[in-house]
Symmetry: D2
Subunit: 133 residues, 4 copies
């Protein structure tokens, strides 16, 4: 359960605010990109999950900001899978620039159906998410 | 065909960029709000249109920027209906601050179905959009 | 220290995702609007604070999502000041729709200067933020 | 004056709307990324331009939407420099997916100073932008 994905992200101009730094609400957007690529690295995609009626809704989000990313920075996002339960999935995130930690975060996702109701994650998807084919 | 709606919008911090002004991609978001409120003023809503399977997709967008809106500015958006055809709807927009024109724009919308294909606008909806109950 | 501000917010179309609900990263944008209006209600503005060289940077953000807001929903945001220290400010947020709690959250802000370094909040600003003229 | 840059962009979940397609206001954000990378390909950066006090503000934006990009699509953006004048720069954009044209657009940028006033583009920057070292 220690699968981790690392990707680089370029800070866009419109993601930065009048302080000249990335607006704090952009980091959870990047975290979502990290989750998407972590799943793709297992050989599957979140698009496929949704097509099969399994949606992942964020139920908890926590961030701590140590230092800001700036416009045009190329930052490194590490996304780690922490736990996969019957319904919930936990991830952890670490964003850095040249080794300096900028932002850390955690999320809990719940599996729901198209009707918005909680839905047990099938074993096959749980295994895929864990990275065991 | 001269129905116009006027609303005030407060520029959000995250809508502003490192130049300290509203990022140019935010104005078409505000235009969409103007269209939404223009339709609501007729007694109907775009949410109802979608629920009935009539979606409006933007097919053309043009903007001219004269002067920027700044953080926390309270600006005035005028949204005017220009034309309602069998499939297409044209709007015009004028954004100002204390009478000074900041941005003008135009859009063309096409009526489509859930399948993304062009769909004729029913007479009832065309009349509603024109503001004739 | 129980000053609270209540405002209504209309969920924009572009704030909603393919699940048809407000994307989870939009709620902290609304929280920022709540803080802005809470300060304005004291007779001052965050724009003035920045003009005087006192910037407020988010250093911690926590959200719990109970139920989603949907497109065109008119939701109610309550923003409460929890604590004002020498450098840090704590807020709490509660978003609801027709009395149903949708999202709750907390933030910590730190006062910094234009150089990004921590800067003590002057007594005058601390009093203003506390709502005591 | 035919310098063109091609890049791939992955459509983010939060960039898609309840229709399940990329919201029309996201395309001009991608165009800005295209301009940024076109300039970087010449060996310089827009970050450097701003640091030297030369800002590029969008004064005109036109888009035509042929077909939507969808969530998780990997699309191709071609950004072309059309003209560099004393103050204004023109670009053209073409977004496609597997060869199918989705969106085309044009922008005019004006060179301004930190004070927001028009400022002539120095010959050195004009040459860099044209891709002639």
């Amino acid at each position: 359960m220690a699968s981790t994905h690392t990707m680089e992200i370029r800070a866009r101009y419109c993601e930065c605010d009048p302080m000249g730094v990335v607006h704090h609400t952009v980091y959870p957007i990047w975290f979502e990109m990290g989750r998407t690529e972590l799943l793709r690295a297992t050989g599957s995609t979140y698009r496929d999950m949704e097509a099969q009626g399994f949606l992942l809704a964020v139920t908890r989000l926590e961030l701590k900001f140590r230092a800001p990313a700036k416009y045009d920075d190329l930052v490194t996002l590490e996304t780690s899978l922490v736990d996969v339960g019957h319904v919930k999935i936990e991830h952890r995130y670490r964003l850095s620039r040249d080794g300096e930690e900028l932002v850390v975060g955690e999320t809990t996702l719940a599996c729901i159906g198209r009707d918005g109701k909680v839905r047990a994650l099938p074993d096959a998807w749980a295994s895929t998410i864990k990275g065991r084919a």
